[in-house]
Amino acid sequence: MICREWNGDIVVFNQETGSTHLLDEFAGIVLRRLMASECGATVGELATALAHGQDAREQQESKQAVSAVVAEFARVGVAHADAS
């Protein structure tokens, strides 16, 4: 995966599929976290890493947002979902 960033927006090139995707700032942050984790990460781990100073309700919303982003990543082949 190759990324370029301009003013918070990220464009990703997937070398496996040859496809190019535009990510908004939040999706870009999730992707960075995912790429930084050597063995992948769960939605919960990603949400926790992004949940600085959030209350329980906000954390739940973050988890849902991360889950949606990861599902989209899986759909377009930017990330692989692992059921385990």
């Binding site: 370029r4 301009w6 003013n7 927006d9 464009v11 090139f13 070398q15 190019t20 535009l22």
Partner: protein
Amino acid sequence: MILADLSRSELERRLAGPGLRLRAGPVVTQIQSPLGAVADGVALHYAAHPIEGSDGFADFFVRVDRPRNLRRWLHPQAVFYIDGEAPFTPLPLDQAFPLLEWGLNWCISAHCHQYLIFHAAVVERSGRALILPAPPGSGKSTLCAGLIHRGWRLLSDELALIDPATSHVIPLARPVSLKNRSIDVIRAFAPAAVLSRPVHDTTKGTVAHMQATPDSVRRAAEFARPAWIVMPRYEAGATAALTTLPKARAFMEMVNGGFNYSVHGRKGFEALARVIDLCACHTFVYGDLEEAAKLFDALATKS
């Protein structure tokens, strides 16, 4: 030697016989055609272009001719051949020259993969290229035709050729395709512009081609450095206005208008990213060509 150095009879002899080897930018095409409409179009629009000897290299071998069947006589048609194959549906005979132009566009966009090729007009001033990517009907060619009659040099009306190694835009000065109302708009805006007789009822409506300016043809070896990507849109009555386009969005717009971006893979991604780095990116709406030309004049002067 340029095409205007040939007599009309010699031009027709070559077209109907061994072929005319015509250079447009980096591309040499051998053209054969016995059709008067093709000879007329080539003579009008490529007069200042270099021609090559028959012993040299040609990138494409094309022919525009009548079909080899009864349609030859009933509702006469023209067929575009490349290497003896006809990749397109025949068109009415009076569309023979537009067919040649559209066929040449296809030849380049489908084969010249040494370049990154995008669907965009490109004009140049002071060594800096203004890239105008836009879908059909957006007013791209009208704006391009207008700008080259207000001090900009034509690099291409339809195909932006970008060298992936240097990021330079490679000139491909060929006729500008004008459609429908834009034909009269350009006639009024630039009375000195040389236009072909309009051809009606094409798949794009009424089409006329405008000759590339002699300066654009003469300077075909002068590359340009990308400086602006501007997505134009004509809107009746609109005041000319540039709006900043986020670079990542501009990247995706270019990808969507790419003819061979996917062919280049990672190198294409990286090369396009370098082009985006070099450019200020905008959307542009305009309703008056004179106002648009002044705005781009100011843009080129101040930045």
